[in-house]
Symmetry: C2
Subunit: 200 residues, 2 copies
Amino acid sequence: MPEIARHTLPARRGKAVAVNAGESIRIINTHGTQVVDFWAYVAGHMGEFIGVEQCRATWTRLYPKTGDALYTNRRRALMTLVEDTSPGRHDTVIAPCDNERYGLLGCTTYHDNCKDNHHAGLLELGLSVPFTPGSINLFMNIPWDAEGNLQFAPALSKPGDYVTLRAEIDCIAVMSACPQDILKINSQKPVEAHYEILPA
Amino acid sequence: MPEIARHTLPARRGKAVAVNAGESIRIINTHGTQVVDFWAYVAGHMGEFIGVEQCRATWTRLYPKTGDALYTNRRRALMTLVEDTSPGRHDTVIAPCDNERYGLLGCTTYHDNCKDNHHAGLLELGLSVPFTPGSINLFMNIPWDAEGNLQFAPALSKPGDYVTLRAEIDCIAVMSACPQDILKINSQKPVEAHYEILPA
């Protein structure tokens, strides 16, 4: 069996990678504290992508659990969450950060952000989209209460926790190591994460 | 003072309408049981629209309350929820229904749906977009629990309840009287709603 290469998702940066049907991508929270924003598109058809609002309607839940499919905006199962060693708290309700968001948080100069990382990652593959879909924010801990109030809290994962997502259809996966260093979601210290592509 | 015209949003249909900065749109749940999916775009710049995931990040809440702005995907306040006579339960986490959704619910022929209503409403104004943003589902009652599980429940509104949304920037508002007749959100009887454009 060939050794599986472990790739670095650098701190504050994004990366896009093809994952063919049957293959899986394992996303590793190397330090335990790092949120990874995640998107996936149908390969060759960038108008179809994981739709978090479509996922929630089918899950009838705010976040995915092991065994759940990740559905597209056409309601097709694009990937399946087949393994999750973390406490299973992933966010689907908060937008990927963008430069405007950091402006509202007090930044006066450009701040690295998941939205631009998403587009930069796609561009490295020669791909682009004219919008930014909602992301699945892996390991991001956004507790809600009975009144629907939300908090931005540190990740609950331990170092080395990972999720494994199997592609059901050839897809382009996009990851961003979230550069958020003002709110507490990355313990205010954005770091690198890692990923592996597992064979079918 | 000129009389304010009350327009019908027909059962199972959509409508788009320009609302200029300072004007408001009042959306009336005439029968109390009807969900109205809602979107708004910056007039002349259809790439900027209300982003429910950006709204939730700034609200730090799953749904809007009176006084909240509705923020765009560029984090600008496009409209403000200035009045709400309903119990205030509006959904932002469930996707607008589409024909594929009805297929998953057992329909074998075309079913009216909010996604197509959204695009048909825009087309009547000569406008189109290559995607369907997440909607604010006015009067839609999707209770959540401590574990993040969601339910599709009947609206809590009484006949005549309304919300008033003031435009902060010239915008194109889009509404769909949700045709969902399988789940309970419209008490399984989709009906018409009404709307008014109020002067600045």
